[in-house]
Structures are given as C-alpha cells and as structure tokens.
C-alpha cells in the first residue's frame, strides 16, 4: 500500500499530449496540464500554457512529461546556433534521415579522403537528403566552398567525445585574413582583383559596400565578431575573420546642424555611413557633410586621381562653447551681414539654410538669418582653402 504522503501534489505543470520533435514551435493545442507529485516538483517546471505559447523545443519533448524551461528556446537562431556559429545545409548523397547529434565531415576526391571538419553539431534532417549543421562562422564558409569542390559526407561520432584526430585532418584550407574594425566606423579593404561577392555571416556586426570594383568599405555596425567569405573574380574565396571593437570616439567633432568641408579637392564620389547620420554632397569638387543625428559616422571620398580617403567624426548633440579664436557671426532674424575674406571667395555654403543662408558678392559673402538657431558657414577661396564661422541667430 502506498503511504498517503507520497500522494501529495504540487501545482500542476504543463506537459505535451504527444511527442514533440526537436525544433518544433509549441502551440497550446498540443499541451495539457498534469499533476506533479510533490516529490517531483522543480522550480523550472512550466506552470501555465501561456508561458510556452510560441516557444521552440530545444530537445524532443515526451508525452506526459512535465515541461522544463531548460528544454525551450525563444527564437530559431539562438535555438540552432551558439554565438559565433552559422548554419549550413549539407546535401547528402542519398535521401537519408539523420538524427541530431555530432558528426565529422569527410572530404573525398580522387586523391584520397580526409576529415574536413571534426566534431560538428548536427541538427538532423529537416528534409530528405539534407543535414543541418551548426559550425563556427569561418568553418561554415570553408565548408560551403568545399561542398562545391569535393564530395563531403558526414560521419557520426559520440556526442560527448570532444577529441579530434589531427593526423587525419585535411591539409591546406582557405586563407584567412583578420580585420579589426571600430564600432560605427570602418576601413577600406583594397583587393588585388575585383570582388564578385562578399557573404557576411552576421550583418548585424559588420556591413560592407563596394566603393570601387577593387575597394570594399567595411563598417562596424555593432561590437562583436563575425566572419565573411570574399569571392574574387577567380579562385577560392578569402575568408575574413572580423572583429568590431568599441574604442575611443573620433577626435574630430561637428554638431548636428553644422557643416564640414573635407580637405580633398576634385572629389567625384562621397558617401556617409550610417546613411541616416548625415547628408553628404559634392559641390565645387568638395565633399560637404551636414550631420543630422548625434553619434559617430564615417565619410568616404574618392577623388579624380582615384585616391580614397576615410574621415571619422563624432557628431555632437549641441553646439559647444565657442573655442578661443573661433569666429562667431551674430545675426538678427531677417537681417543680413557681409563677411569679407582676404582672397576672393569662389564658393560658400551654409549647414542649415533654415537658420542662415549665404550668397556670394565678389570678395564678400552675404549671410542672411532665416530662423532661430546656430549653423556653420563655410567659405572657399580660389586656392581651395576653406574657412568657417559660426552663424548664431538668437
């Protein structure tokens, strides 16, 4: 006879009514509440159906088994991939079904066989003849390339065996270049030949754009680490191991509503990143930047002789107190003032026409106050030299 103390019940817990395969998103219709004996109560048991609606099973769930929070995930990426990993769908030679586990990957060609990657987490077959694999991002790019060149087959291994067999590992491999970027700014990558394609594992960490066929501008979007495969016009891809670090802010500053004319002349292309951070334009061969929001930005310029230049800038929220010697032009609303330069002025620009506009009159520039605020006026003489002043409309 069972002692009555063994019958004491804890609060009911949620349990599946049928077996739920791994990586299945849960719905309330396949769940129920079950009684849990007091002796089997646990703090991570799921108590209400609402808690699990839409979550993903990280492991197979058994019918009638009280559901534990450890077995549930929130989104597909975190469910399938550890940090720094990427998913590869490998086509098998036959329409086999593979259960989740760990595998080595064997590369085969006429010359022999070797272990291309060892100890890889396999998520099983999402469909016949496909094996889903989670690999470190660099290895994932290497595997994708290998699968276009060689026969690659999986080999099952013990799930807790972390050992590798270095003497059976494939030699060679793709070349890897390390790239360090600073958050919100980036660098130019000059290539030996035109790029055909750049595949970045995590575009949340780094984004890239081709500014010429042989120059990539890479931006550090958020601190972290990711990988990329750079496919050139011929040959195997080059792998990029990219780190984005949070470093000191750029020393050059300009506030929102300001204006900056960069030093290069004969500019034919200019771009800003992030795109929404500022407006960039080319006027009279100069790249002009009008910051629109605070933060860090980077500007790329290309001149007629092909020179590429990057400028890093911290955009301030407001105007700092005038520096010693900085010219300030006080204006009354609706009024005009003339500015005279030692040499004839050939171009003049305003950072914000809604505050002050500027027009040329020979050696002089006429600045007209349009509305309250502060902006920058930039004047350029015939030699290309620029000077600036701060227009203030109280």
């Amino acid at each position: 006879m069972l002692p009555l103390t063994a019958l004491a019940l804890a609060a009911p817990a949620v349990a599946p009514m049928t077996e739920v395969p791994v990586y299945t998103r849960l719905t309330e219709s396949e769940l129920t509440l079950v009684d849990v004996p007091d002796a089997l109560d646990h703090p991570s048991l799921v108590r209400s159906l609402e808690e699990v609606e839409g979550l993903i099973a990280l492991e197979p769930l058994l019918p009638g088994e009280p559901l534990r929070k450890e077995r549930l995930g929130t989104d597909a990426r975190s469910t399938l991939l550890a940090p720094g990993q990427d998913l590869v769908l490998m086509r098998l030679m036959r329409p086999e079904q593979w259960a989740p586990g760990r595998v080595d990957l064997v590369a085969l060609n006429e010359e022999g066989a070797c272990l291309l990657v060892q100890d890889v987490r396999a998520h099983g077959s999402p469909e016949p003849g496909i094996l889903s694999l989670a690999l470190p991002a660099l290895k994932a790019h290497e595997l994708r390339w290998a699968m276009t060149q060689l026969a690659v087959v999986p080999l099952s291994r013990n799930p807790v065996d972390r050992s590798s067999v270095p003497e059976l590992a494939c030699g060679g491999g793709l070349s890897v270049s390390a790239i360090d970027l600073t958050h919100q700014v980036g660098s130019l990558l000059r290539l030996g030949e035109p790029a055909a394609e750049l595949v970045v594992t995590d575009p949340g960490v780094v984004v890239a754009e081709a500014v010429t066929p042989t120059d990539l501008w890479m931006h550090g979007r958020s601190p972290g680490r990711t990988a990329a495969a750079l496919h050139l016009s011929s040959g195997p891809p080059v792998l990029l191991d990219i780190s984005v670090k949070q470093e000191a802010l750029p020393a050059d500053t300009e506030p929102v509503g300001g204006l900056l004319a960069f030093g290069e002349t004969d500019v034919v292309d200019a771009r800003v990143w992030p795109l929404e951070a500022a407006q960039v334009s080319i006027e009279n061969g100069r790249a002009l930047l009008r910051p629109r929001q605070p933060g860090v930005l980077q500007v790329f310029t290309r001149t007629t002789d092909g020179t590429l230049t990057l400028h890093d800038l911290t955009v301030l929220e407001g105007w700092p107190a005038p520096a010693r010697g900085e010219p300030v032009l006080p204006l009354k609303p609706g009024k005009k003032r003339k500015v005279t330069m030692p040499a004839p002025i050939v171009a003049a620009w305003s950072g914000d026409d809604a505050v002050a506009s500027v027009e040329l009159k020979g050696r002089k520039a006429r600045v007209t106050a349009s509305g309250k605020g502060t902006t920058r006026i930039v004047l350029m003489d015939a030699t290309g030299a620029t000077s600036s002043l701060r227009a203030v409309v109280p």
Partner: protein
C-alpha cells in the same frame, strides 16, 4: 475519491536524476534517487525500471524521471559510437540477423574482398519514411576514411558474421591496399 483510488494502488519506485545527464554518458546508480509513486501514475508508467548502465541519448535534467525514450534506442545507434570511434553509415539494410558483428565488403577488380572484418553492428539507419535503408557499424576514424573512399568506386555491403568468425583473422579475404 481519486486520492482514495491512488492510495489503494500499488507503489512503484521511479528513478529520478539527481544531476543533469548529458547525451553519451552511461547512467550510474549514484546519478539516481528513487521516488515512490502510485504504479498507475503516468510518470511511473513511463519510467524505466532500472536505467543503470544505459546510455543517455537525450539529455535528462536534474529532477526528471528517467524515461526509456531518453536512453539508448537501437533504432538511433548512429549517435552513440564509442568515444574515439565513429559510427559509419553503410548504404543497404542489414536484414534479419541475431549476429552483432559484421564484415564490410566491396569489390576490387572483379573479386569481392573485405574492407573491415568483424566490426560491431550498431544498428540501422532509416529514410524519412522510417524504412531501414542502411547499417551503422563501428569503425576507427582511419577505417571510416578508407571505407568512404572505397565507396566512391564500388558499392559496399555489410554481411553479419558470428562472434567466432569475427575474432578470427582472415587475411585471405582482405582487400589488398
């Protein structure tokens, strides 16, 4: 009334994990505590009588009843190669047999020969419809590479052998290297 019925039921000792049990590890007596439940309780019905010595396939969490579904299933053998060894999937179902060991055969020239002799049969692989389509055998990583390479040229076949045959060297059957 329900409590009364339960109270009248026979007691059953149910194994419960005292720590997380990772896939691939064998269950030991010290990994378990025993909880007394009514034998009709669903958790008691699904529990394994004695999981000691079984190999864990799906993680068992601390505080969970140890159920047979999370332990070694002969239909999913590819997941439990001995540490240091590999489970090689050879196309072709094995067919009914009581033998636990096998040779892996291929053809060199016109002559059949063995690539591996007397290896352990781990079980069957299945297609997406659950139909057996292959056999898992235990191999070293080096053997796995040799067999996979051979399979590029010629089909392979797994033939069961008796324990006595498996343990006897048969160099006359081996493929020349």
């Amino acid at each position: 009334m329900v409590s009364l019925i339960l109270a009248l039921a026979q007691a059953a000792d149910v194994p419960v994990a005292v720590r997380d049990l990772a896939p691939g590890t064998p269950v030991r007596a010290e990994d378990l505590r025993w909880v007394e439940l009514a034998s009709t309780h669903p958790l008691a019905v699904d529990a394994l009588d004695d999981p000691v010595g079984h190999i864990v396939i799906e993680q068992v969490l601390e505080g969970e009843v140890v159920r047979a579904e999370r332990l070694l299933d002969v239909d999913k053998p590819e997941r439990v190669a001995v540490p240091g060894m590999r489970a090689l999937r050879v196309p072709g179902p094995l067919g009914p047999t009581t033998e636990r060991r096998a040779d892996v055969w291929t053809v060199r020239g016109d002559a059949p020969c063995t690539l591996i002799q007397g290896t352990w049969i781990l079980g069957v692989g299945k297609d997406m419809q659950g139909v057996p389509d292959s056999t898992f055998v235990l191999v070293t990583p080096q053997q796995a590479l040799e067999v996979q390479l051979a399979a590029m040229d010629q089909p392979l076949q797994v033939r069961p052998v008796s324990q006595a045959t498996a343990t006897r060297p048969r160099p006359e059957l081996a493929c020349s290297r």
